[in-house]
């Protein structure tokens, strides 16, 4: 029950942040993907950096078992193929599965079409799962593998290092990119 309330609060906060940073604007997403305006990419990188450093520092204090980590498996072919398909839809529609819900909340009509497309996409996926998806996702499945395991370094150190690299890159990159 507590989790249902906390996740609702997290959702309201996330929705408000996405709206304020204009990530629910498909034109803004397209400008970011054209690399003309990097504000959303910098927003995401900042989120990841702050989140990773905080989560792993907290883990160092309370222990891994007190955290609710949930690592997704790395089945290389399916994850990469899914990402490539996702990217085409992201570039075309300018929405991701969460930002279209935020867009609907702020009254964007095209966001409703994106949600409808998403629901039908989920239906087709569900029907295609056993015959097409499951065999592909069995290929090159390395399980729940993390960067610290690959590098053979402590997770806290890798989180701080990765966070610092992300923040450094974000700090150096311009937000508005001048096109020639």
């Amino acid at each position: 029950m507590t989790a249902l309330i906390l996740s609702l609060i997290a959702g309201v906060a996330m929705g408000a942040l996405i709206q304020r940073v204009r990530a629910s604007s498909p034109a803004m997403i397209a400008a970011n993907l054209r690399l003309e305006n990097l504000s959303i990419i910098k927003f995401m990188a900042t989120t990841i950096a702050v989140g990773a450093i905080l989560a792993y520092l907290t883990m160092a204090v309370v222990g891994r078992d007190a955290m609710h980590f949930d690592i997704k498996p790395t089945y290389v072919v399916g994850v990469l193929l899914g990402g490539l398909i996702f990217g085409v839809g992201f570039g075309l529609g300018g929405y991701c599965p969460g930002t279209c819900v935020v867009g609907a909340g702020e009254g964007r009509k095209d966001a409703l079409f994106a949600i409808l497309g998403g629901v039908i996409g989920a239906l087709v996926f569900t029907l295609a799962f056993t015959s097409i998806v499951a065999p592909i996702n069995a290929l090159m499945d390395y399980g729940k593998v993390t960067l610290d395991q690959v590098l053979g370094l402590p997770a806290v150190g890798v989180a701080i290092g990765l966070g610092a690299i992300f923040l450094g890159i974000v700090y150096m990159l311009p937000t508005e990119v001048k096109r020639k």
Binding site: A3, A16, M67, V76, G93
Partner: protein
């Protein structure tokens, strides 16, 4: 403490931080607190759980025979509440700020609102299909995934930006 706070120039320092940095840092705190208290944020799994909830009503036998719907489980989950929260958060933030979401033309080829709806619909189909293929989307794989140092999140992000950048640039040139 209160005295020193009033002596400081109002808004100095923090006001120099750009919006994306401030909001990104707050989102990072929300993301880490979620991992501490209930789990990593993620959106796309709610779409097939929604399909499952409908199919269990209309065709219960087919729903129970589908291994994917069985795996994804019921809609009564924190992730569903997160998605409901997104709708409320988007509504409240836009209302409080007085934002009117004006219709946008995302690509030059979208000369009518019908063409915008078409692109949003096809895009919506592909993002959820692709996300379920990979096991997560921008929130679950990229934000929560890389936050947890997951290799799958890094791999997914590489795929997304490769075709995302290519598609957005091609659409801008009007090439179809």
């Amino acid at each position: 403490m209160a005295e020193s706070a009033t002596q400081a120039p109002p808004g100095d320092g923090s006001s120099k931080l750009p919006t994306w940095a401030k909001l990104g840092a707050i989102f990072g705190v929300v993301s880490a607190l979620s991992i501490l208290t209930w789990g990593p944020i993620g959106v796309s799994g709610t779409y097939p759980r929604f399909i499952g909830a409908i199919m269990r009503r209309i065709t219960p036998d087919a729903a129970h025979a589908n291994p994917y719907l069985e795996k994804m489980g019921s809609l009564i989950k924190p992730e569903t509440m997160l998605v409901i929260g997104l709708l409320i958060g988007g509504f409240l933030a836009a209302r409080l700020a007085g934002d009117k979401a004006a219709p946008e033309h995302v690509h030059p080829g979208e000369t009518t609102s019908g063409k915008r709806y078409r692109d949003a619909f096809i895009g919506g189909f592909l993002i959820v299909f692709g996300a379920r293929f990979a096991g997560g989307c921008t929130s679950g794989h990229i934000i929560s995934g890389i936050t947890q140092l997951s290799m799958s999140g890094l791999l997914f992000a590489a795929g997304v930006f490769a075709t995302g950048i290519l598609t957005a640039k091609l659409m801008h040139k009007g090439a179809k």
